[in-house]
Symmetry: C2
Subunit: 555 residues, 2 copies
């Protein structure tokens, strides 16, 4: 028994915001029985991952140890917590547990991949618990920007651990359970070994505001709007969607939900009972017949996603509806860092149409779903954990959160992805490192972030691509001239002759003077052709492209 230990191992989400995946284990060293908390995705960008469809945590370690894995628990239904469930379930092969609304979304993830819904199990909130090997896990309700978010109460032979999940302290969250400080105090009263805690808003210095504070402001805005109003927010923010719809309804407008995710999410919320009242909605077809001043659209695409309803409205039309001069468009959302350019592009497109844009700049129409610094302090005061392990944050967030915790007299540590932490003693102790990283979903294929595939794409984007073809006969003599094709390169450079002509001349000249030894050796020949081609390009266009050399031998 004395050799058993309790470990915590983030595989995603610690050192970044996104693709959460946290392992807990208990048992003898390297034989711990494991559970996984959350299995999320993150999104690609042109700078680092062009053409990639989705990004997963690298789960190689967990898959290698899947015989030790008991179950997956999902805290809530955001993509960065549930998005990878369907992509990895076959490799993990253990039950997935979640509360009803989250489970409904997780089941979509399974059926989207042709898997059975039945491996997703719906559980009730605390005090119900689920046994998973040496663990007993309960879902403790907490407020966030999606219904039925839960912290996990993880009872272990070493004591109780609380995994906060994403949360805020909202005692009036519009939809779902309010944060209940008494319940949290009750759960914590016999001592909490460790609080693993959301760090997203550790740099926000004022207490977070309640979801209920935005409704009245939104209603004022809608009442004052002369023509059509459209508003966007995350579809999963059911409370906000409800707030928007009710404000519109009170202002005498018909409500139309646009974008598949928006309709799907509200349906799931109604079916699972988290939403028991919602204004009557009209279809986009019916909406077209309604006078603009009596209509309100609630649409997807708050982050500027190119195919979502907001971007399509900004480009001209969506579901037959067009925004016009004097209409109002509300971003009831915060732009996630990295998405600014896309959102600003849309704002300018609306501006060109004469649409008035209202965003979060004044702080009236959006509140965050995460606990600010004073709220993190409040939670620590309620839970009184022996140690605080910050998660759900970039390195700077984790570090600031650990510092904050230590200043309040609690043991803490910065544990980024791959850091195995022993929670058994009085202080958290790093007890190992596991190789982690990112796995890309690229079309239908999972590739490693460091496989070189995406690196080659980035290089082609920066440098262009030149293809050199050479044909040699049976005696290694060139058959005709070198042939070049360019993609992503200017057709003409300093000499004002076509770049292809200059290249082919230089390369053909080289072939004429190359030794038999060079011509007979593919590697050497390719290397020389590449070197000459890059130099010629550099002279002509001031750029050294990526070069592919194809040597064909007639033998």
């Amino acid at each position: 028994m004395s050799s058993d230990r309790l470990i915590y191992l983030p595989l995603g989400g610690a050192g970044e915001i996104g693709m959460n995946a946290y392992v807990y284990g208990y048992g003898p060293e390297n034989e711990e029985r494991l559970i996984l908390v959350d299995l999320g995705v993150t999104f690609s960008d042109m700078d680092t991952s062009p053409g990639v469809d989705l990004i997963f945590p690298d789960l190689t370690w967990l898959i290698e140890n899947k015989d030790r894995l008991e179950a997956v628990f999902i805290t809530h239904g955001h993509e960065d917590h549930v998005g990878a469930v369907g992509h990895f379930w076959e490799k993990l092969g253990v039950p997935v547990y979640a509360r009803a609304f989250t489970a409904a979304l997780a089941r979509h993830k399974m059926t989207d991949r042709g898997l059975s819904e039945q491996d997703v199990h719906t559980v009730s909130a605390w005090p119900e618990t689920t046994k998973a090997g040496p663990f007993n896990v309960g879902f403790l309700p907490v407020s966030h920007s999606i219904p039925e978010s839960a912290a996990l109460v993880i009872d272990t032979p070493e004591g109780r651990v609380i995994h906060s999940g994403d949360f805020k302290l909202d005692e009036n969250p519009v939809v779902g359970e309010p944060f209940d400080p008494d319940l949290w105090a009750e759960v914590s009263k016999d001592g909490v070994k460790a609080l693993i805690c959301d760090s997203t808003n550790v740099f926000s210095m004022t207490p977070g505001r309640s979801e209920s504070s935005v409704g009245p402001e939104i209603e004022k805005l809608i009442v004052d709007a002369p023509y059509m109003v459209a508003a966007t927010t995350f579809a999963s923010n059911v409370a906000r969607v409800k707030t928007l719809a009710e404000a519109g309804e009170r202002a005498g407008r018909s409500i139309c939900l646009m974008g598949r995710a928006m309709r799907r999410m509200i349906e799931a919320a109604i079916q699972t009972g988290v939403l028991n009242s919602f204004p009557k909605v009209v279809s986009p077809e019916d909406a077209r017949a309604i006078p603009r001043e009596n209509l309100m659209l609630i649409v997807t695409g708050s982050q500027g996603e190119r195919r979502a309803a907001t971007a399509q409205l900004a480009r001209g039309k969506y579901n037959g509806i067009t925004m016009k001069e004097g209409d109002t468009f509300l971003f009831s959302s915060k732009t996630i860092p990295g998405n600014e350019r896309g959102v600003i592009r849309i704002m300018n497109q609306f501006s060109e149409m004469g649409v008035d844009i209202v965003d979060d700049a004044g702080g009236l129409y959006h509140v965050s779903g995460h606990a600010n610094r004073p709220d993190l302090e409040t939670l620590q005061d309620i839970v009184k954990p022996q140690m605080v392990i910050p998660n759900h944050g970039e390195h700077r967030h984790l570090r600031a959160h650990a510092k904050l915790s230590q200043e309040r007299g609690r043991a803490s540590i910065v544990a980024v992805n791959g850091t195995m932490v022993d929670l058994s003693g009085d202080d958290p102790v790093v007890c190992g490192f596991v190789e982690t990283g990112r796995t890309y979903l690229d079309g239908a294929v999972k590739i490693g972030a460091l496989d070189g595939i995406v690196r080659d794409r980035i290089r082609m984007a920066l440098n262009g691509h030149l293809v050199v073809t050479v044909i040699l006969d049976e005696d290694d003599e060139p058959l005709g001239e070198a042939w070049c094709e360019i993609k992503g390169l200017p057709e003409q450079g300093r000499s004002f002759a076509p770049l292809l002509d200059v290249l082919e001349e230089d390369l053909t000249q080289f072939l004429g003077r190359a030794s038999e030894k060079t011509l007979s050796n593919d590697d050497k020949l390719e290397e020389e052709l590449r070197r000459i081609a890059r130099n010629t390009c550099n002279d002509e266009i001031g750029k050294k492209p990526e070069v592919t050399v194809i040597v064909s031998r007639m033998s």
Copy 2:
């Protein structure tokens, strides 16, 4: 005389923030004599312009009409106002006028391109004026985030026009002339026909703060810092660099400037007399010997530029100096939209080193260089222009600024790049459109943004690139099999066979069954090979790549 008119034509900077270039003209229709105000650049990004070195306004119209052009006037030395001078001077061939500090920077732009410094003429501030065809142009000092910024007083036969340039209303700007409301009132007292005015901060609702307000806060921060302090800001913000250096000096620290731009800018400021006192600086070599708690670095790279000093310090070392646990790094700057990811990456790298990061979040250590909405109103009240033409802004800024002006009883209009506006009458009237756009500097070559070159690069980045080679003999019969090469694509897909093998088999099979007609027709053969290759890729890897087909004929 009655057919003469006064026109305004933005070629860059109206409908975007960056690459400013504004034409004014006076004379008979289509024979107006012209001046150009500012000639700036903007910067590329991976999303829209990967691999591009610099972005210029498309000056085709101006170059075609260069016989009508009298001169170029540069308001101030920021890259988005002066950066393209060296790249276009030969095509325009007219004198360039600027105040001393700006002229010093413009001369660097000329000599960087091997051009003569002598075509850049230094002029003094108002009341000195320069005659250029029908115009008399004076440089009216105004405060901004670089020394010697000027508005232009453009006297025309139709009356006085004021082109604000970039500005803020700072009566204590630390370096350079304070904003002088009396002088502006004096210049405006006989009536101003049009104010062409900076729109950058039209959405900032509180009055702008003075540069002098940040010094005391920065000094407190440095006094409290236990070890080394490094701070970054735009090198061109000479006032801020001075504030940082003086705060460091008062806190008992030696000052070391790092990054070529930082040293170059301070040198130019001293040489041209805009900076007559600056703390003694130590070289990076000497800095290494100074105890960390007595040292302050002021470094380039506030926008996360990969090769600048900040990014290099974040990666480990710059000029032999390394940041360490407990050091402080201050971003005395605002992150420009689109640069967030790069800046955040650096913050996390510093966090991993244990460096404490301080940024602009609290509003203490940075103020903007542009006029906020109340300041725009104040300027209108001083100048009392007949009309206000917003410039230096995206469409949403221009629109809000025009609306604001109209609400204050002034004629206004949204005129984006390419819109020719007749200022002769009581109201601004659109009198034509000129084709505009962006010109990319790509290595050594200027290419059009719509030439398709960069589009091809983006497509390769998103989709990867497949090269198919086929050799046909004199009878149009395939010689051997089809040959494929991939770049930026996974090597294996759904069938678990190498992608290249599957492709080559499918393509070779097609060649075997292709008709003589197809085989003898290059276009048709390429089209078919491309189609098959894309379909095979889609089946195997769920992605349709860019395809280059090379058909070689032994004839």
